[in-house]
């Protein structure tokens, strides 16, 4: 602090003003119920009104693709009914597979580098974390992912013959977006399960 004589009065007035500031201000509403709920749920983020309970989110994630839209349902119906258990050892990465893009695909619509990086990171994390879910849930998730893969393959095949088809291009992007949403939801849910187990 300055001790120059000409500043003494100003410093004193400023110190007085600062000392009179209330050290404590309470939030308008009690934040503890949200904190308590988040702690109980084992989540690393505060529970806001719009956040859904863990079990509800789990159910939503597991059924995300199935209920998403009529268009998706059509593609899903083409699945071969194969059962995948996702028991580790690279099964998750193998199921999700690489991003498929037709050679003639419109470059402006290609998923960007950020998308590819996010997807790769999620797949890597989920390879282990998926094992935290019950086997029945893993099968359901595997079914959804498999359905997405079938849809992606079908759309890509169609696009190869009709590269300028904007509707098919939109389908492809939508499907990749849904896949990423599913992966992201799975990541949040399995991370929450992991945190819960750690606390126990």
């Amino acid at each position: 602090m300055s001790t120059r004589p000409e500043n003494t009065d100003a410093d004193a007035r400023l110190d007085k003003a600062l000392n009179e500031l209330p050290l404590e201000i309470l939030p308008k509403s009690d934040l503890w119920p949200n904190i308590s709920q988040a702690i109980a749920n084992g989540r690393g983020q505060p529970a806001r009104g719009s956040r859904r309970p863990l079990l509800v989110r789990l159910a939503i994630a597991a059924s995300l693709v199935v209920v998403s839209s009529m268009a998706t349902s059509w593609w899903i119906a083409q699945g071969d009914g194969r059962q995948v258990k996702l028991a580790g050892n690279g099964e998750f990465a193998a199921l999700v597979g690489p991003v498929i893009l037709p050679a003639s695909y419109d470059e402006t619509r290609v998923p960007g580098a950020r998308y590819l990086q996010d997807r790769a990171e999620l797949v890597q994390v989920l390879e282990e974390q998926i094992l935290l879910l019950p086997e029945e849930t893993r099968q359901k998730v595997a079914g959804d992912l498999l359905a997405i893969q079938h849809a992606l393959q079908d759309i890509s095949r169609e696009l190869t013959g009709d590269p300028g088809n904007l509707l098919l291009q939109q389908f492809l992007l939508t499907m990749y977006r849904r896949e990423l949403m599913l992966l992201d939801d799975l990541n949040q849910i399995t991370a929450a399960v992991k945190a819960q187990r750690t606390q126990i």
Binding site: L14, L23, P27
Partner: protein, 188 residues
């Protein structure tokens, strides 16, 4: 809450020991003990977050996230510093994280007028000088250091560590903040 009143009636060493006991119980998973720690510190932590962000809703988020993180990190808290210092550090990290992710600094002046009305004592106006608004108008770096050192009572070492700056920078920013505030006082 009764907890704060109990703490006030104790001597300082008693109070520190009581807080240590609460930390131990919370580390063992006792949520009620953690709630007491929350009740003891939320006022100061919220005041800091509100003044740093200028946005009550964002301050709410930062405080919530800070206490949730604190709960999760309790096993790592070894008590080298007071719980109060530790939770302030986590809260400051939350605020800085929010600032980095959202560059919405323009809204800072929507601040405090209504919010401090709910404070334990009214916002001071020394000879017509509104110190809350004057602080809100400070440049971010100067404001953060002033809030930690000039208002919160933290040392430059603590503040610089929380803000990720050098001790010298902290001192310079405090000097700058005080000079700017005095200039604003002189304008009145």
């Amino acid at each position: 809450m009764g907890v704060s009143l109990v703490a006030v009636s104790m001597t300082e060493p008693d109070s520190r020991q009581a807080e240590k006991d609460l930390v131990v119980r919370a580390r063992q998973g006792e949520q009620a003990a953690f709630e007491m720690l929350y009740r003891q510190h939320v006022g100061r932590v919220y005041a800091l977050c509100l003044r740093m962000t200028g946005q009550p809703a964002l301050a709410d988020d930062c405080v919530q996230e800070a206490f949730i993180r604190a709960w999760r990190k309790l096993p790592e808290f070894r008590g080298q510093s007071a719980f109060g210092t530790w939770i302030h550090r986590i809260a400051v990290n939350q605020v800085l994280g929010h600032k980095r992710s959202s560059k919405r600094q323009g809204a800072h002046l929507e601040l405090l007028a209504g919010q401090t009305a709910g404070a334990s004592s009214p916002a001071p106006e020394t000879a017509g000088f509104d110190i809350e608004n004057a602080i809100a108008r400070l440049p971010e770096g100067a404001r953060d250091v002033l809030l930690l050192c000039g208002v919160g009572g933290f040392s430059h070492e603590e503040a610089s560590s929380m803000l990720g700056i050098a001790v010298g920078t902290s001192k310079a920013q405090l000097h700058r903040a005080r000079r700017l505030l005095k200039e604003q006082m002189d304008v009145r």
